[in-house]
């Protein structure tokens, strides 16, 4: 079985993210990058399928800048076989739909039975690439998968909805996006980490994919980036229970807007 996993190299979720002074984007210096946590579930699932028997290969693929190779190597250290880096200055500005287009151009040239992605990237939080990629390849997709199993050319997947889980049966090939809880990603073994460091990664640019600048230009354009209104200082309320509770609920509703 040929499994392709789409991954992204993203800043660590605990990083302090600030807009650039001119608000044109996010300040990236000093940020530590990791393999997108949701993609990790996808990689782990792919490797488990491979390990469960039969002759499978897992290929990880990413659209990203120079450093994105690191996340490919992380996935390879976990057990992926091959890595493909789609790297081009023109790719840096594209939007989520554009990323899906770029990926589809690369994936089209490969044999695949199953494509896995994380449900969203923790930097732009778009959650678009999975379904969009499926559309471009003309195959079905299942989103936010918490459990999956391959049974004779089909996949049975649990897809999370609000307050319920849908169990879907889907023909292969298909694109599935991984949700937290799909599995427990392994910690790479050191010998594999060392091997992954030396693994040759295939690099493809826009020309290699036959894509013009128009093909990858973003359709959703960023206008500016700003900080949200500051988190108001914590308020401690004391006093009559009924009143304090009433006030808290009011604040939750009107100020914090969480109710």
């Amino acid at each position: 079985m040929n499994i392709i996993v789409c991954v992204k190299h993203v800043p660590d979720t605990e990083a302090a993210i600030k807009p650039l002074p001119d608000g044109s984007g996010v300040a990236t210096d000093g940020l530590n990058y990791v393999l997108n946590p949701y993609d990790e579930f996808a990689v782990e699932e792919a490797i488990r399928i491979k390990e469960s028997g039969g002759d499978s290969t897992v290929t990880v693929i990413t659209v990203g800048p120079e450093d994105a190779t690191k996340s490919l190597r992380t996935a390879i250290a976990m057990g992926a076989d091959e890595g493909i880096h789609l790297k081009d200055p023109a790719f840096l500005e594209t939007d989520a739909q554009g990323t899906a287009a770029i990926l589809s151009e690369a994936v089209k040239t490969l044999p695949y039975d199953l494509i896995l992605c994380g449900k969203q990237a923790v930097d732009d939080d778009c959650a678009q690439v999975g379904p969009a990629l499926a559309e471009r390849l003309g195959i079905p997709n299942v989103s936010v998968v918490t459990r999956m199993s391959i049974e004779s050319g089909k996949v049975v997947a649990h897809s999370e909805l609000e307050g319920a889980t849908q169990v879907l049966e889907c023909t292969l090939p298909a694109v599935l996006t991984a949700q937290k809880g799909l599995n427990e990603p392994r910690y790479p073994k050191l010998p594999m980490i060392m091997k992954a460091k030396r693994k040759e990664i295939k690099i493809l640019d826009a020309a290699a994919l036959g894509m013009s600048p128009e093909d990858v230009a973003p359709k959703a354009k960023r206008l500016s980036v700003s900080t949200p209104p500051p988190r108001r200082a914590g308020r401690v309320l004391e006093g009559d229970v009924a009143e304090v509770v009433k006030e808290t609920v009011r604040l939750l509703k009107e100020e914090a807007k969480v109710l």
Partner: protein
């Protein structure tokens, strides 16, 4: 302008879900601002009454795409049916709620239409020409991004639930109902729904829960967690526990929030009788809003809580339950 702004309907158990009405409300406001027509697009089966009722809350048009294969939601047939209609009607914008379904359908639809999509927006404004500007959180809400889709059409976006005011029922508005046929050949279909499993207690998994109520050592006894469970049932949320409560055997390790338990990112986290030691904070400090209830005013948790209530949790929590119940009603 004769252009249309569309809201795509999401149904559940034969009802139009509230997030759809919120999107409709936003579309109505945009439509009014630019003089565009607002259309509600309902792909489904035997849904006309529900569709009409929803459309009365702000739509000028109700597009009813009914087909056997649309009886239950599936990405591929829905995407095709709506895209076909869009290719015909060429709306200016298509908006969906950023629900599980919306987040599944919108990207596929956008790819099919070759357009751009702004996901999970918390603000949507328009200029006079009907070019929309969206504000959306990125990096888990640490920063906000303003984006627009200047050229590609239709502009697409998903709107975050519970932010936008739902459309108001307008007795003066009589939406035009347009029945649309869908061309759905079997090979479009791709998936079959085997079953839908409702979450057994109505409570969501801790790590993906939007609201969590957690108990710590201050709960004093396992039975006391009942009051938290009552609070949770009111809000339909998950019940967590600090390590102290798990260690004492009051709660299962599955419920543990913290360094050696689960890391949670809810919108609202209510910590009852939890001191706020660093191992616990490490598991919940990314919560959007933290409420702490503790009788010790020095408890470290008050340093991170947005709202802290110093008091006896056995008095506060039941009162909270009642107050919250009232807001829901």
């Amino acid at each position: 302008m004769a252009a249309e702004i569309w809201t795509v309907v999401e149904m559940r158990d034969g009802e139009v879900r509230i997030p759809t009405l919120e999107v409709l409300g936003a579309c109505r406001r945009i439509g009014d601002a630019v003089g565009a027509k607002v259309a509600l697009v309902l792909a489904g089966k035997d849904a006309e009454p529900a569709g009409r009722e929803a459309a009365a809350r702000g739509a000028d048009i109700l597009y009813l795409i009914e087909h056997e294969e649309l009886a239950a939601y599936r990405t591929e047939p829905f995407a095709k049916a709506i895209a076909d209609l869009a290719a015909e009607k060429k709306p200016n914008a298509i908006l969906l709620p950023a629900t599980s379904q919306g987040k599944d359908l919108a990207p596929r639809l956008a790819a099919r239409l070759g357009t751009g999509l702004a996901s999970d927006c918390i603000e949507a404004d328009t200029d006079s020409a009907g070019v929309l500007t969206f504000t959306r959180p990125i990096y888990a809400g640490k920063v906000l991004e303003k984006i627009s889709i200047p050229e590609a059409r239709p502009q697409m976006a998903t709107l975050r639930p519970k932010i936008f005011a739902p459309g108001e029922a307008d007795p003066g508005r009589q939406p035009e109902v347009v029945k649309v046929a869908a061309d759905l050949s079997p090979d479009v279909l791709g998936k079959t729904v085997k079953e839908t499993i409702k979450a057994s207690t109505g409570r969501v998994e801790l790590t993906e829960a939007d609201f969590i109520v957690s108990g710590g050592r201050g709960m004093k006894e396992p039975d006391q967690f009942k009051i938290l469970e009552e609070l949770a049932d009111t809000l339909g949320v998950a019940v967590g526990a600090s390590r102290a409560a798990v260690d004492a055997g009051w709660r299962d390790h599955q419920d543990q929030v913290g360094q050696t338990g689960k890391t949670v990112t809810p919108t609202l986290y209510i910590a009852c009788g939890i001191s706020g030691a660093i191992q616990h904070l490490a598991g919940m400090s990314s919560a959007k809003c933290i409420v702490a209830v503790n009788k010790d005013p020095e408890a470290p948790i008050f340093k991170v809580a947005d709202y802290g209530i110093v008091g006896d949790l056995f008095e506060v929590v039941p009162a909270l339950k009642n107050a919250l119940k009232e807001t829901q009603a």
